[in-house]
């Protein structure tokens, strides 16, 4: 940092804790040489709300609703992973029909999340028309979610040992209608995001994560699959009804025959997963057996049963962003669990940002950051400190740089 040497050409920009591509706060410090990123430092925790600690005064049923509020987009994954953990500790067998219903809700959430992501990613590189298109499609999916669960976002569908609402015969036409709408629009979305020359130029070869780095840094979800690692909890293990269904790993080579691990590959993986989710919902509707939807409908009885259990267990589910894992320890004395540890997918996908961002340009930060679909939160200002002079760069400015880069390519 000494000023005596004239060789120092790098400077630092802090980004965050509020940032354009994020939905929740995170702090980055970039070391830059001109436009090029040399090094990245990450700091988290700006929205740490002590949820695990808050659980110490709540019983498992109350925790379901607390878990639902960890994240708005993954409002199904967290309570369901918690339920899986509790069911494994208490050895509760979930009725088969509930296992299928759980898959349907999980996949519906994945469709919502991936379509939302496609819109945000398009917005980051300046295609706002695509943003509106995707949100129009997503709206139909949310309507279906509301129809099935009663809510658009916090669904309140999960119960330990099953689900809270059934899908009846008269609901099927509406589900099939929405799925048909999604299939009709899928081709349009695919054409826009994968065939467009400018999108290709902005995303191909950008933000590369190698397979080796993905393995070493324990990346999860579409991020690791787009680097060619076959890892997907739904395929790897048997939980819910996934063991009965026809499902395979989604990697970019299915479509292009090669794996590059860049932003373009991440678009491919998420798009293919939307199609896969539609297919899984249809399979479930076909194969779903009749029967009860919850193991123990009487809540006080369930709570009394859980209070006596002593043991520990883990619950894992493939959330839209990757593996979510909850660890639960019950002590057999208290209503509240002794320990509850939540690990969301983005937790594992933070370290891979460092190799992905190194060597890229400032204008690529939004799309590279957005390409991991981070589930933290959102930004407003960036301060640039150069030669002792301080400039401030706001979200709009950073977004403008990104849009300008796209326009530059189009000329």
């Amino acid at each position: 940092m000494s000023k005596a040497t004239t060789t120092k050409t790098t400077y630092q920009i802090p980004i965050g804790p509020i940032h354009p591509a994020l939905k929740e706060p995170v702090f980055f410090e970039f070391e830059l040489d001109g436009e090029k990123i040399i090094d990245v430092n990450v700091k988290l925790g700006h929205v740490h709300r002590g949820i695990e600690w808050a659980s110490r005064n709540r019983n498992p049923i109350q925790i379901l609703y607390l878990a639902e509020r960890i994240c708005g987009i993954c409002s199904y994954c967290h309570p369901i992973a918690f339920s899986l953990a509790v069911e494994s500790v208490a050895d509760i067998q979930v009725p088969e029909r509930a296992e299928y219903l759980r898959v349907i809700h999980g996949e519906l959430e994945r469709i919502c999340s991936h379509i939302l992501w496609a819109g945000v990613a398009a917005h980051e590189i300046g295609f706002d028309t695509v943003l509106y298109l995707t949100w129009q499609i997503r709206e139909r999916t949310l309507d279906l979610t509301e129809y099935l669960t009663g809510n658009r976002v916090t669904k309140g569908i999960t119960m330990i040992g099953g689900v809270r609402r059934d899908i009846t015969q008269d609901m099927l036409p509406k589900i099939h209608e929405t799925l048909k709408y999604l299939k009709d629009n899928f081709e349009k979305l695919r054409h826009i995001l994968l065939d467009d020359k400018t999108v290709k130029m902005r995303t191909k070869g950008c933000g590369i994560l190698t397979k080796e780095d993905a393995l070493k840094l324990c990346a999860v979800g579409p991020l690791t699959r787009s680097s060619g690692v076959k890892k997907d909890v739904r395929v790897d293990s048997s939980y819910f009804a996934y063991g009965d269904l026809d499902i395979n790993y989604t990697t970019p080579d299915i479509l292009t025959g090669e794996v590059n691990g860049d932003v373009y590959d991440r678009i491919i993986v998420r798009l293919l997963e939307i199609k896969q989710s539609i297919d899984l919902i249809e399979q479930c509707l076909d194969k779903m057996p009749a029967g009860p939807i919850v193991a123990e409908p009487k809540i006080p009885k369930l709570l009394a049963q859980l209070k006596k259990v002593n043991g520990e267990g883990v619950g894992r589910h493939e959330a839209p962003r990757g593996e979510v894992i909850h660890y639960v320890k019950l002590d057999g004395v208290n209503d509240a669990p002794y320990t509850w540890k939540v690990r969301a997918p983005t937790y594992n996908n933070i370290l891979p940002w460092i190799p992905m961002l190194k060597g890229e340009q400032i204008a690529d930060i939004p799309i590279v950051a957005a390409s991991t679909d981070p589930c933290m939160s959102c930004t407003n200002r960036v301060a640039i400190v150069k030669d002792g002079n301080k400039f401030e760069m706001n979200k709009e400015e950073l977004h403008r740089l990104s849009v300008e880069k796209t326009r530059g390519l189009m000329l």
Binding site: L217, C218, K230, S238, Y242, G313, V314, I350, L351
Partner: protein
């Protein structure tokens, strides 16, 4: 990192018992079935001795490079328990095995070696355990705080259940001017 053969739960357990016998304190294999076809998923829970921890991680990585899901922790009054959740065999349909490796660190000076030299992805999880459970990770590559704010008082650990826990802090927030 080439394609590796699929290990069974019994093979993994046998390997560790042969290699470390007395250092392995307790082994449980739990299987749970799901769906109409009742396919099973396996969880292995192993308690190990702290002395052999690093050596066991080394053997684990040699056996098959695992995915570290997360490290979780419990405050067990006289000691702090860390549980390393690893998964094996991913990439093969329904053959993934979860290995939960538990190690107890005695109070008042809970210490454990870092595993970042074998699995670099463990860094975030290790940093989190340092600040939330007040343990010391020996030779950790990056010692900075990750989740707690810079002005959070030293010596208070949110997941502890003893006098270093957060109860006192939140009851007397006026004293720390929060």
């Amino acid at each position: 990192m080439t394609e590796e053969k699929i290990l069974t739960a019994e093979e993994i357990v046998k390997y560790f018992i042969d290699e470390f016998n007395t250092k392995i304190k307790d082994v449980k294999i739990k299987k749970r079935s799901a769906g109409l076809k009742k396919n099973e998923t396996t969880n292995i829970w192993i308690k190990i001795d702290k002395g052999a921890f690093k050596d066991i991680i080394k053997h684990l990585c040699a056996l098959q490079f695992p995915h570290l899901s997360v490290i979780s922790g419990n405050d067990l009054v006289n000691s702090i328990e860390l549980i390393y959740h690893f998964t094996f065999n991913y990439g093969h349909r329904m053959s993934e095995i979860m290995l939960n490796l538990s190690v107890e660190l005695p109070k008042p000076n809970p210490e454990i070696e870092t595993i970042c030299d074998y699995i670099p992805g463990a860094l975030i999880s290790e940093r989190e355990k340092q600040e939330f459970l007040g343990i010391k990770i020996i030779d950790i590559p990056d010692n900075k705080r990750l989740f707690l704010p810079e002005d959070f008082p030293e010596g208070v650990y949110p997941w502890r259940r003893d006098e270093t826990g957060p109860e006192k802090l939140y009851r007397n927030l006026h004293e720390v001017k929060k």
